[in-house]
């Protein structure tokens, strides 16, 4: 071929393949590896929060038990189910992109989007209750539910918590600080994820991801599942401390 030199320098490839990758598979493997490296930094980021939780829980265990009793096990379990189902629909979205089925991909991305919003909705119900009961750390924090558990009849009738000593009762603020820091950081990841999902739904409707270009959907899926895994640990650690 006369144009052989030109063809080698600028050989044919799908529009979504970057020039510096030799094949689509190579591009997939390289970006997939990069995504995992990003997730490792995320493990370290949440790891700091989990470590401080572990230390504080060991020091102020009674405060953590009674603080945990303030959380609704119903909403917590419901949110875990919502997030796990959203992980499933996201995985199905990746499958739809791999099978090049545009309608299904848009459908599964939309369901994931709605489930993500449902998670945040439930979280805001819980946050609102903490706000009303003055359990948000700060100037308006009140430890009265822990100094005198009987003053909080809804929780008292289920757990019959004993009054905490004033210094330990004050440490419940540390529990709620970690609760808001950890679930807040998780919620921030959800908000970022939902925003990217909105963009992906827009692009998927144009058929961007159903021409063999699954890299973006696959890597976003990794992010979404990672956020799910963080919640899988937050749920038992924050909600299920000594419920018996």
């Amino acid at each position: 071929m006369a144009s052989g030199a030109v063809a080698e320098a600028h050989h044919e490839h799908p529009p979504y393949q970057r020039h510096h990758f030799e094949t689509v598979d190579q591009q997939f493997d390289a970006t997939n590896f990069a995504m995992w490296l990003f997730l490792l930094t995320e493990i370290m980021f949440f790891g700091g929060l989990f470590t401080s939780y572990l230390i504080m829980r060991n020091w102020y265990y009674p405060a953590f038990v009674e603080g945990s009793h303030q959380l609704s096990i119903f909403w917590g379990t419901a949110n875990t189910a919502v997030l796990i189902i959203s992980s499933f629909t996201m995985a199905m979205g990746v499958w739809s992109a791999e099978m090049r089925r545009k309608g299904l991909l848009v459908f599964f991305l939309c369901v994931t989007f709605v489930l993500g919003l449902a998670f945040l909705g439930i979280k805001s119900i819980e946050y609102h209750e903490k706000w009303v009961k003055h359990h948000v750390p700060g100037f308006h924090y009140s430890a009265s539910s822990f100094l005198d558990p009987a003053s909080d009849p809804e929780v008292y009738k289920e757990y019959h918590d004993k009054p905490l000593q004033p210094d330990m009762a004050q440490k419940t603020e540390m529990y709620f600080f970690l609760y808001f820091a950890m679930t807040g950081m998780h919620a921030l990841h959800m908000i970022i994820g939902i925003s990217i999902l909105g963009y992906m739904i827009f692009r998927a409707r144009q058929g961007t991801y159903t021409t063999g270009h699954v890299t973006f959907v696959e890597n976003f899926g990794l992010y979404w599942h990672f956020v799910d895994i963080v919640w899988i640990f937050l749920y038992p650690l924050l909600y299920l401390i000594s419920r018996y």
Binding site: F33, I229, Y235, P236, Y244
Partner: protein
């Protein structure tokens, strides 16, 4: 260099993209939901404690809760995140991440546990 020889070279080097079936995803979903129900149920049962040494007690409830959470995480990583079907490089990366995470937590905890031994 002809196109053919470089093509076959890549086929040998690179990983074939594996598509996980929806049935596998469905099975994992059901397993994850069952594990969630199990961990919620277990939290209502007092599993007791183990007095290892004076001032050092291991409660079984959080151990079981974390074991269930780790199982759920493993299912999500292996199947939803396709690590079971990924190249060795990905598997190594994931394991290295968890190893460093556990090493950092472990070393921090040895410090915290031993500094005020028995005083808290």
């Amino acid at each position: 260099m002809s196109e053919n020889s470089s093509g076959s070279q890549h086929e040998q080097q690179e990983h074939e993209h594996h598509i996980v079936s929806p049935l596998t995803y469905l099975a994992i979903l059901i397993a994850l939901l069952c594990a969630t129900a199990l961990t919620a149920g277990m939290s209502y049962i007092d599993l007791g404690e183990w007095h290892i040494a004076p001032g050092l007690t291991l409660f079984w409830n959080p151990v079981v809760a974390l074991a269930i959470a780790c199982t759920k995480m493993t299912l999500v990583i292996l199947f939803f995140m396709h690590v079971k079907y990924s190249p060795k490089l990905t598997k190594l990366t994931v394991m290295a991440g968890f190893f460093i995470f556990l090493a950092l937590i472990g070393m921090t905890m040895t410090d915290y546990f031993s500094r005020a031994w028995g005083r808290w």
